[in-house]
């Protein structure tokens, strides 16, 4: 049965979760940013935003994480496994686009062999999403098959129905168990159909035109043209909830060290450079093409899923004003009215 959660009960919701041993994460003001971050109490929760500046991915795939530790003594090495990386937590107030990035990324982190750091965090963390009641011009979830109140990837979905009231829907068994364990926090729904406050996100391009065009246009002037202003900073890849490329490096002292997995990005020149200096993707145009191809062609062929959730963070953060949905609009237009390739 549908439940209600009143804003005034956020406090008891968060304290009950903490009482059950959950770490609590929610959108929180950090100077002029809104960040998903650990909170101690409900008073820290910020809800007056379109989307958090950081994506949800860092709670499952941190910017930097130990994959093993070791001790070195003369020529002997002893390896130690990292412990305690999967902390039981609830992420409260993430957006549906962020939540959907998780089942999308499950595919690559479980391809053939599973990355236990991802998998165990996925098991430990429960996602309570709040549907978007507003959007901005960068949002394009509806163009990639999602919606501002999409449920995939969330364990519980809250939708605002008035300034101080949310309707609660459980999506998964994990979500159901969470709600069950919190009796008293949620209220029963009165009868009648609630008036859900959900943003209207304009559809910007026809996604079904994109892949067929990409299949045919690995070589096309648009790749260079569009990326001429790109400065290769890679910020787009770091804020993206579905960019998952990483580097593995060692950090150590003389006697002990860690092997560390760090976020990396396809927009960096060094990303693909061979030892010899040869670089398969030596220009920014090639690197930009890789980003688009990976998201809208390669990942689709491998895993039957687009590697983009339409959150628009990459475009919001780009210092050169590169806009991924503009790129996709160009592609969709080219697909309908082919221009000159060269």
């Amino acid at each position: 049965m549908e439940k209600r959660l009143y804003k005034k009960d956020f406090g008891s919701f968060i304290t009950s979760l903490q009482g059950l041993g959950y770490k609590t994460v929610a959108p929180k003001k950090d100077n002029n940013l809104i960040m998903l971050d650990e909170i101690q109490g409900a008073d820290e929760i910020s809800l007056d935003h379109v989307i958090t500046n950081n994506s949800i991915k860092e709670f499952f795939f941190p910017k930097t994480e130990k994959v093993l530790s070791y001790r070195m003594e003369k020529n002997k090495v002893e390896i130690e496994e990292p412990e305690g990386f999967a902390v039981k937590a609830v992420i409260f107030g993430s957006r549906p686009c962020d939540a959907f990035s998780l089942p999308v990324m499950d595919k690559v982190f479980n391809w053939d062999c599973s990355d236990k750091f991802w998998v165990q965090r996925r098991e430990a963390i429960t996602i309570v999403t709040i549907a978007c009641d507003k959007c901005d011009s960068y949002c394009f979830c509806t163009s990639v098959g999602l919606a501002p109140d999409a449920k995939q990837g969330s364990d519980v979905l809250l939708t605002k129905i008035s300034d101080d009231e949310y309707v609660v829907e459980t999506v998964t068994e994990k979500g159901e168990n969470l709600i069950k364990g919190l009796e008293g926090v949620f209220s029963d729904s009165p009868s009648g159909v609630p008036d859900r406050q959900v943003a209207t996100v304009e559809k910007k391009f026809a996604i079904d035109k994109v892949k067929p065009w990409l299949d045919e246009n690995f070589v096309h002037k648009v790749w260079t043209e569009f990326s001429l202003k790109c400065i290769g900073c890679g910020a787009c890849t770091f804020v993206c909830p579905t960019c998952h490329c990483f580097d593995i490096v060692d950090e150590c002292t003389m006697t002990k060290g860690d092997r560390v997995k760090n976020w990396d990005g396809c927009q960096f020149k060094m990303f693909t450079m061979h030892t010899s200096g040869h670089n398969p993707r030596s220009t920014q145009g090639e690197r930009w093409r890789q980003r688009i191809m990976h998201k809208f062609k390669y990942y689709v062929e491998k895993f039957d899923s687009i590697l983009c959730v339409g959150c628009g963070r990459c475009s919001r953060v780009c210092p050169a004003d590169m806009n991924i949905s503009e790129m996709l609009e160009i592609i969709a237009t080219e697909a309908s009215q082919p221009g000159n390739k060269d």
């Binding site: 093993l68 062999c113 236990k116 593995i248 060692d250 061979h274």
Partner: protein, 277 residues
């Protein structure tokens, strides 16, 4: 759940200086049980690590027919390979693998084999060459064409002598013009030219090519001219890799992940990939 980033620990039991900056290590598993269980096939690669410096990717250069050890050959170039070079016999290093697909050696039985390698790309073929030579009866003529910049840069000099001395191996060595010494008896010229001159018959023959991208680029058309069908020409690609497991996202050529779907490809498969080498 296993940690897919955890390497085996291995100890260096022997080392050879092959060429300036190029070394071969013989490695044994620190844990004998792990060594007994370990299996690989020709063509596969691994991530080797020096603790405190990081990991680097190269092929397994020894043959799976020789089970007691693994050998790797590397050129000192970056942070990790410089650190590798500083290691001594008895030292411990990390080994993560084997990864990737394999050369379909069983399919080649009853055929002639032509191996073509350039420079530091002989190590990935050495694995297959010894694998096939250890099963010599199963194959017909074996030709090895190997070139390097200079005489000093040829790797596995002792094995080249051994192959040269064998009646059942036809070895052609070459160095780039200017790389010869006064007593050099091999050929002088670039690998694609030497292959054209050597004219290996394409009839019932498999060609296995490995070298720098530029060498592969010019050798494939030569093989085509000699009548080799694209599906009878094999190569092994190397792209920058960090995980070796299809997750870190950098080794792809178009939709193909070299670490998982490769590193072994036929020329036919490569011809269908976008030009992103």
């Amino acid at each position: 759940m296993d940690n897919i980033y955890r390497p085996y620990l291995m100890n260096i039991s022997d080392m050879v200086d092959e060429a300036p900056g190029v070394k071969t290590f013989r490695l044994n598993f620190s844990n004998e049980d792990e060594g007994k269980k370990f299996q690989f096939q020709a063509g596969q690669f691994a991530l080797y690590s020096v603790f405190g410096y990081g990991e680097c990717t190269f092929c397994i250069a020894s043959s799976p027919t020789r089970k007691e050890y693994i050998e790797c050959t590397f050129r000192q170039a970056g942070r990790v390979t410089n650190a590798l070079r500083e290691l001594n016999i008895g030292d411990t290093l990390g080994f993560r693998g084997p990864y990737g697909n394999v050369f379909p050696i069983e399919e080649w039985e009853g055929k002639n084999l032509v191996f073509i390698a350039g420079g530091i790309a002989l190590p990935p073929l050495r694995c297959v060459i010894w694998n096939c030579l250890d099963l010599r009866d199963k194959f017909k003529d074996v030709t090895i064409i190997y070139g390097a910049k200079t005489v000093a840069d040829l790797v596995y000099k002792h094995e080249l002598k051994e192959w040269d001395a064998r009646d059942d191996v036809n070895l052609v060595t070459t160095v780039d013009p200017g790389g010869e010494t006064p007593d050099w008896t091999g050929k002088v010229g670039f690998v694609p030219t030497v292959v054209e001159q050597a004219e290996p018959s394409s009839s019932n023959t498999i060609a296995i090519v490995c070298g720098p991208p530029i060498m592969i680029k010019f050798t494939l058309p030569v093989l085509e001219k000699l009548g080799f069908k694209q599906d009878k020409v094999y190569t092994t690609l190397e792209n920058r890799m960090k995980c070796g497991l299809g997750k870190c996202g950098r080794c792809n050529i178009g939709c193909t992940y070299v670490c998982k779907e490769g590193p072994v490809f036929t020329a036919e498969e490569i011809s269908k990939m976008p030009d992103e080498f």
